[in-house]
């Protein structure tokens, strides 16, 4: 056994292990130095973690859209970030008018539900049209073709929104009911909006998981994901299942859009790009095609971005560490992929269907 492992061990492997090892060493040394310096109290760390989980939940919701579509079509739907943007952007219009008339502050729950409903409807419509017009005609073409089409569709959607609504940033209204914070006893305080984002994201993810595991459609989705042709032989309408998969992913993206906009209070036509890239990273980090993996990947990425710069770099005396937030996030991705090439919860390579 050992001999076989040694025989397979190449110079590249050695190099990768060295890279991985030095990253881990750096992380450990940096963390110890930061914690020993003691500039941050428990309260600060708590805040970093909460911010990270809130941001991570949004990444996770978007990542699910990537992972669902990949699981079934083996295709990266790069226009998914625009599905997310379209939901957030359309939600802005209803949120803004409800806020102006005072309805949102008087009936925050109905108001928020309406925003979610509008955003999710828009996202779902965009995604269904996308699937019907841009992807379905290319179902049997080589895999690069739909990929490039997805990138094209992404630009098309971005600039359609820019053309329709202009390029300026628009401020989402503040909801009075979500303003302020709850005290958790002692010095620990949590913003209401963070609680909403985390709880809502968790509910959506739980709902999705139950849907995929417990319903007939969910079972059919899993079957199509295993093997499209066999599933069709078993009487499953593959096209219909694919559309439903897009609808599910888009609904989550629309919800993520509203949560994101409520948290950061700004929308513009380009807002989907960076969260989209991050969510795609999260999906890969967790193991693309794997639903719990996407959730885990999103949370990991959010946490690394929020806690990482301070924890890993502050102790090493690196100035302005938050500039390196993306570097940290992607270094973590590299680290995970060195040791687990298919992601944290990814399928084993031998059984991979890719």
């Amino acid at each position: 056994m050992l001999r076989r492992t040694l025989e397979r061990f190449t110079l590249t492997d050695l190099f990768m292990w060295l890279v991985g090892g030095s990253i881990i060493l750096l992380v450990v040394v940096g963390s110890v130095a930061t914690l020993r310096a003691g500039n941050y109290t428990a309260r600060h760390w708590f805040d970093f973690v909460v911010f990270g989980i809130a941001q991570g939940s949004v990444y996770a919701l978007i990542a699910l859209g990537y992972t669902l579509v990949y699981g079934i079509l083996r295709m990266i739907n790069f226009a998914h970030s625009e599905v997310f943007m379209s939901g957030a952007f359309t939600g802005y219009f209803i949120a803004n008018s409800m806020s102006r008339s005072g309805f949102l502050d008087r009936n925050p729950i109905i108001g928020l539900l309406a925003i979610f409903a509008v955003a999710i409807t828009t996202s779902v419509t965009v995604a269904v049209l996308l699937e019907r017009i841009a992807y379905r005609p290319l179902r049997r073409s080589p895999r690069l073709v739909p990929l490039i089409t997805a990138i094209g569709a992404s630009f098309f959607l971005q600039y359609t929104f820019r053309g329709l609504y202009g390029s300026q940033n628009r401020a989402y209204p503040e909801v009075d009911a979500l303003d302020g914070a709850w005290s958790l006893g002692g010095e620990f305080v949590i913003q209401k909006i963070q609680v909403l984002v985390i709880v809502a994201a968790a509910l959506f993810m739980f709902g999705l998981y139950m849907f995929v595991q417990r319903t007939r459609t969910g079972k059919a989705m899993r079957a199509v994901s295993e093997d499209k042709d066999t599933a069709a032989l078993m009487g499953i309408d593959v096209d219909a299942i694919i559309v439903r998969t897009f609808i599910l992913g888009a609904a989550l993206a629309g919800a993520a859009g509203v949560l994101y906009a409520l948290m950061f209070r700004q929308v513009n036509f380009f807002m989907g790009f960076i969260p989209g890239i991050k969510a795609f990273t999260a999906a890969v980090l967790g193991g693309i095609g794997n639903i719990p993996g996407a959730m885990l990947g999103g949370l990991f990425l959010g946490l690394f971005e929020s806690v990482g710069p301070t924890l890993f770099l502050d102790g090493l005396g690196i100035p302005a560490p938050y500039q390196l937030k993306d570097v940290i996030a992607f270094t973590m991705l590299v680290l995970v992929l060195i040791y687990r090439p298919t992601g944290i919860l990814g399928e084993r390579l031998a059984t991979a269907k890719a």
Binding site: R43, Q55, F264, I274, Y322, K325
Partner: protein, 414 residues
């Protein structure tokens, strides 16, 4: 018929015969360009070609539209003509980043008909565009670049042919620090930049002057362009408990910082201050209540001629200019026109010749030019701004509600 008429007729006929015999008027020697870096030749019916290099799309589009409108008004003021030639304005979008600046610079430098360029808006664009533009012998005047390196002769980013009517950040950063320390009376400050040369140098100058005055800088942080979650970096800043945070960056990151500061424990009462990069009506709109009470340093222009300019803007575009550098762009365009008028040589056949080095020299020699932003005198490095046109503004509920511009709160020297 009078005798006089006959005489005239005869003279004319003889004259015509003589001319015909000589084979037409003798042509003067063709114009020889003696300029060290070449000339632009403009045929009698050809236009004088001016270009803009501004950020007219994306998040910073207000900055570009603001400058572009002012250039158009300056052209209108000339009746659309200069020295009997139509003025043609074309332009490139510079996107407020180095890539956009480089692409625009390469395209503009490749067009030999361009006499001068008004631009760029962002310092990062100028940094990437100037090597090509300077190499092509052109002049470029910026209405809003404020990075000190661009006019520092010892710095590689300095190129001959570059001018600006905007204030140098060495000045703006100092004004901000003096305002914070002397006027607001704060003793501790933190800064945030976004990695752009503009923000990085501005916060550096602010920090240095603030320390010189006796204050303490608790930390100098940075975010990335495109970041949305600013709460972690703000939490880190909160550990130092600064009384003021100075973040001279752009939209939308500036909006997000201002909005999220209120949600970070320990920063609820911290004073916010930004610079002219956030000085646009979209900033309070995009930030919401988080912008109330925030200070911005920015261009401040007043006076009768400026009111006339605003009236022209209102007639031409409606409303008010969306950002703060229109007066600088107007002055920049007019200075360029004045320099062209000074050096252009007209041939007998009406062709106009403009020596490129001569044009540069004329620009460098600009002295006490009466502009909207004060009396402009260019130094040997291309800095033409007076520094008179700078003020500190305080945003209120009114600006969040859509009013623009805010009233000036403080001016240096007050």
């Amino acid at each position: 018929m009078s005798k006089r008429f006959h005489l005239t007729l005869i003279t004319l006929v003889i004259g015509a015969l003589v001319v015909a015999a000589c084979g037409g008027t003798p042509t003067p020697a063709p114009f020889a360009c003696t300029d060290a870096i070449g000339c632009v030749d403009i045929a009698p019916d050809a236009p004088i070609h001016i270009a803009y290099a501004l950020t007219v799309s994306g998040a910073t589009a207000t900055l570009g539209e603001d400058s572009k409108g002012a250039i158009e008004i300056a052209i209108d003021d000339k009746g659309g003509e200069l020295l009997g030639h139509k003025i043609e304005l074309t332009g490139e979008d510079t996107l407020c980043n180095a890539e956009g600046g480089q692409a625009a610079g390469t395209k503009l430098a490749a067009d030999p008909t361009i006499v001068g360029i008004v631009g760029t808006n962002c310092s990062s664009e100028a940094r990437a565009a100037m090597p090509q533009i300077s190499g092509a012998g052109m002049v470029m005047i910026s209405p809003s670049n404020t990075n000190p390196d661009l006019t520092n002769p010892d710095h590689p980013d300095h190129h001959p042919g570059y001018f600006r009517t905007a204030h140098n950040d060495l000045f703006q950063g100092r004004v901000a620090a003096e305002f914070a320390y002397n006027e607001l009376g704060v003793k501790t400050a933190a800064t945030i930049h976004d990695g752009s040369p503009y923000a990085e140098s501005l916060q550096k100058v602010f920090a240095n002057v603030f320390r010189e005055l006796g204050g303490t800088i608790t930390t100098q942080e940075a975010v990335n362009v495109g970041d949305t979650d600013m709460k972690p970096v703000l939490t880190k800043i909160a550990t130092g408990a600064p009384e003021i945070i100075y973040f001279p960056i752009f939209e939308p990151e500036g909006d997000l910082i201002a909005a999220q500061m209120d949600e970070v424990a320990g920063l609820e009462n911290t004073i916010k201050m930004g610079a002219d990069g956030l000085f646009a009506d979209t900033f309070p709109e995009g930030t919401g209540d988080g912008a109330v009470g925030m200070y911005l340093s920015g261009p401040y222009v007043a006076g009768g001629p400026y009111d006339e300019f605003l009236a022209k803007w209102k007639t031409k575009f409606g409303g008010v200019p969306p950002s703060g550098f229109h007066a600088h762009a107007y002055d920049a365009t007019n200075m360029l026109f004045a320099a062209i008028e000074k050096v252009a040589v007209k041939d007998a056949d009406g062709t106009l010749h403009i020596g490129r080095q001569a044009l540069r020299d004329a620009m460098y020699a600009t002295k006490d030019y009466n502009g909207l932003t004060g009396k402009l005198t260019c130094d040997a490095n291309g800095d033409c701004a007076t520094g008179e046109a700078l003020g500190v503004f305080k945003l209120t509920e009114a600006e969040v509600g859509g009013a623009w511009p805010p009233p000036v709160f403080w001016q240096p020297g007050q």
